[in-house]
Symmetry: C2
Subunit: 82 residues, 2 copies
């Protein structure tokens, strides 16, 4: 398993309830791809959303986000942490 | 205090030791601006680095990263989390 940071652009005006609902939609199906979305952060002003996950591959992250209805614009493995 | 996610582009090839050293340089002076860098993640392949912090303002985050020698390309308040 590896960690990934994915980014969604263009989510200007996102509300706390929308972020939580999107996160719940990921959590509901993530196990089917052995993905776990650990945390999500959003800036409603710029519209940037960041999601940290553990997954077997970026492809698995991509598929879960797509099926949950909010495809990611960028998915980066983040093998280094401090 | 608020949470911020900042992003550094162009760090292709960054090593674990370089990421840790940069993080240590932030930690060494962050208290002077009431900032705390909680975690950093790096993708050496794309060169993206993400830092999560708690701080009184984006300006405070910007000043610490600049003084530590690695100015951020983007700094976003992330008032929403899930």
């Amino acid at each position: 398993m590896a960690e990934f940071m994915d980014v969604h652009h263009g989510m200007k005006g996102i509300t706390n309830e929308q972020l939580r609902e999107s996160h719940r939609a990921d959590l509901a199906i993530e196990a089917e791809e052995q993905v776990h979305f650990k945390q999500a952060w959003a800036d409603p002003e710029s519209g940037e959303v960041y999601c940290l996950s553990e997954a077997p591959s970026a492809e698995a992250v991509r598929r879960i986000h797509e099926r949950a209805g909010h495809p990611a614009d960028e998915i980066h493995p983040v093998p280094l942490t401090a």
